[in-house]
Amino acid sequence: MYEIIENKSIGEGVNIYKINAPDIAAKALPGQFIIIRVHKKGERIPITIAETDKNYGYITILVQTLGKTTHLLSEMQKGEKLSDVVGPLGIPSEIENFGTVVCIGGGFGIAAVHPIAKALKNVGNYVISITGARRKDLLLMENEMRNASSELLIATDDGSYGTKGFVTDILKKLIVDDKKNIDRVIAIGPVPMMKAVSDFTKKYDIKTIVSLNPIMIDGTGMCGACRVLVGGKTKFACVDGPDFDAHQVDFENLVNRQRFYKDEEKTSYECHQKEHHKEHQ
């Protein structure tokens, strides 16, 4: 079980993995995630399910190499096995015919927004997707997003592809200049992006959903490490979310909680890289 059947780099520091997990593939719905443990002494980390193949029994995940665990994962070869994979976890995203929906994926959030956009389009929504990256070569899943959407709009920070600027600039244009009638916005990506989208749509009273990514351990509701403040109330992102009404989310608290172990994470990664370097000498 949990055999890696594909590990391919699809951009700087980002790999796409296909993992054998038939039970999860059979069940997963858009918006859900898995928890993996790479090796026997490893930590548990949450990762969004980007795609599933029920027939062949595998799931697809996209993972950005940011620290020790994701680095270890990036080095695993086809045929190697992950120690643990559990899921699908979390409440699936709300998929209904809302009318016109804007799906925004910032940087790495594209992998998470993709299955949701696809599902929304399948049930009859007019899906305008906005994706973005710092540069053209960092843009993820362009073709997949195009297929999953009625319209795809792209922004790059440096203007090397699509519109120059942020995904929020495109959203503003849609709402302010084009006066599009938007029934719902879904935004997944870095917290500053989700917060910017939320602040903006709040003014126009457009229902906005974000997928939150706090620190998690078990992912099944038993510890509260992933607790977030939504409408002033404590919610566990792993069992009550990860999707929440953006206008109710305390983003500042989320950011602070995300960075609590930054020093430990850095130390762990540096030690690992040193060890790694020695081994390869």
Binding site: I24, E43, T69, D84, G87, C223, G224, T234, F260, E265
Partner: protein, 482 residues
């Protein structure tokens, strides 16, 4: 041993009553706080035989009634006295499949030892039933032959056990012994439930838990980890598609309660479950080797006074907090932790502060915990739990500097299984309604027991519920009568 035998047989009750209870030998506090190894050393053979002599083999053995799984306590103690330790182990195993664990974690002072006749006498203390049970189980592990070779499948019916905590493990053991095919499904990557993520190594070594689990596997119980029933597979799918004839739900009460006071979202405030899971299950006390991180500072305050609170505060001390304290809103008398653990905590230098209730947490500019504001309490009339209700004293607020806080005030039901299983009735708190005598839920073929039915209770009660359910599952599968 022969001499021993004759001597004991001659022993009258008068002589027996003269023997003082044998303390549990323990590692000294200065040494043991530096590591996570087991605190209690366990009885020597001499200790055990001497302690066994204290049992007067009463005509009405109240101790058996005090044990949730009705172990024949006088019988196993008499076997110890005779030096037949393996016989004593077999006697216990007639009723309990996890003696090495129960001997360590049961609150005997509220169960078997509470009603011991000797303990009721003036100037006397109960026979140390728990210590003796532990001795027998450890002796068996060291000297006994592997008793459980692979059991035969007597029936072709398959039973699914949801959750690998004490109730699930006990149920699995019972049903396997009866000859059923048993599969356990566990959400985490290791089995044991609270015994693996909650109870620390210094109180229950993981090797002992693994030993007990290995016995189950040797008997032929299948264990599947990383399966969240209700998410990966539902209860209905187990019954309808996966070919299970009955399902036992033993998923516990694992959702932590928070205080719901301002500032609780600050960094450095943990549920006891998170704190203990990081350290016990993920081994964050050894960050050189294991990847899960944990922070350490100087002052740690744990709110609560149950076993979980004791485990958390003593764990904090071992992690390196130099000042680890318990803040409890009631008084010493109302603490629910095992007496042994309270003593051990005190010996290790844990400070206890009573009649204190937190009102808000105060953070620094980075939203890390810095202080806690508390108020002093006084005890009023007894509440529905029978314990005197704590009432705030006006104007008694004060602020204390802290580096971390652990909330250990209890747990709620985890909704994943109940909410994904239609046709199974729940009570107003979300716990599964199951018949006390049979473990039957309102859904045909589905049984439940342990904390998912009763709310947070003890390991042995969960095991007792598992045993009851096993009997009734056996009957249901033979008769098909619901």
């Amino acid at each position: 041993m022969e001499n021993q035998n004759k001597e004991s047989a001659l022993l009258g009750n008068k002589e027996r009553l003269k023997i003082k209870r044998h303390d549990m030998p323990a590692r000294n506090p200065e040494e043991r706080v530096k590591d996570f190894k087991e605190v209690a050393i366990g009885y020597s053979i001499e200790n055990a035989i001497e302690e066994a002599k204290r049992c007067i083999d009463c005509k009405v053995p109240y101790c058996i009634q005090g044990c949730p799984v009705s172990i024949d306590i006088p019988a196993f103690i008499k076997l110890i006295e005779k030096g037949d330790f393996l016989g004593a182990a077999r006697k216990i195993r007639e009723k309990s499949s996890l003696p090495a664990i129960c001997g360590r974690v049961c609150p005997q002072e509220d169960q078997c030892e509470k009603v011991c006749t000797i303990g009721k006498r003036k100037d006397s203390t109960s026979v140390a039933i728990g210590y003796l049970e532990r001795f027998v189980a450890d002796y068996e592990a060291e000297h006994g032959k592997k008793i459980n070779s692979k059991n035969k499948n007597l029936y072709d019916k398959k039973i699914a056990i949801v959750g690998a905590g004490p109730s699930g493990l006990a149920t699995a053991g019972e049903l396997r012994q009866k000859g059923y095919q048993v599969s356990i499904f566990e959400a985490l990557h290791e089995v044991g439930g609270v015994l693996i993520y909650g109870v620390p190594e210094f109180r229950l070594p993981k090797s002992i838990l693994l030993r007990e689990v290995q016995i189950l596997q040797d008997m032929g119980v299948e264990i599947f980890t990383n399966v969240v029933i209700g998410k990966t597979i539902t209860v209905d799918e187990l019954l309808n598609e996966k070919g299970f004839s009955a399902v036992f739900i033993g998923t516990g009460a694992g959702t932590p309660k928070f205080l719901n006071i301002p500032g609780e979202e600050l960094n450095g405030i943990y549920s006891a479950n998170e704190f203990l899971t990081r350290i016990n299950l993920m081994r964050a006390y050894n960050m050189n080797e294991y990847d899960t991180p944990m922070k350490c500072g100087k002052t740690l305050v744990v709110f609560g006074a149950g076993n979980t609170a004791m485990d958390a505060v003593r764990t904090g001390l071992r992690l390196g907090y130099s000042d680890a304290r318990i803040f409890y809103r009631r008084s010493r008398n109302e603490m629910t932790a095992r007496i042994d653990e309270i003593h051990h905590a005190e010996e290790e230098g844990i400070k206890f502060e009573f009649l204190i209730n937190p009102v808000r947490f105060i953070g620094d500019e980075k939203q890390n915990i810095k202080q806690v504001e508390c108020q002093r309490m006084e005890l009023g009339e007894p509440d529905e739990s029978g314990r005197r209700r704590p009432i705030p004293i006006k104007g008694s607020e004060f602020v204390t500097d802290i580096d971390a806080a652990v909330i250990a005030i209890g747990t709620n039901v985890n909704p994943i299984v109940p909410s994904s299983t239609p046709g199974m009735n729940l009570n107003k708190w979300g716990y599964i309604i199951a018949d006390e005598k049979t473990g039957k839920t309102t859904k045909k073929g589905v049984f439940a027991g342990g904390d998912i039915v009763t709310g947070a209770a003890t390991v042995i009660l969960a095991m007792g519920a598992g045993k009851i359910a096993a009997e009734s599952i056996d009957e249901y599968l033979k008769t098909s009568i619901w």
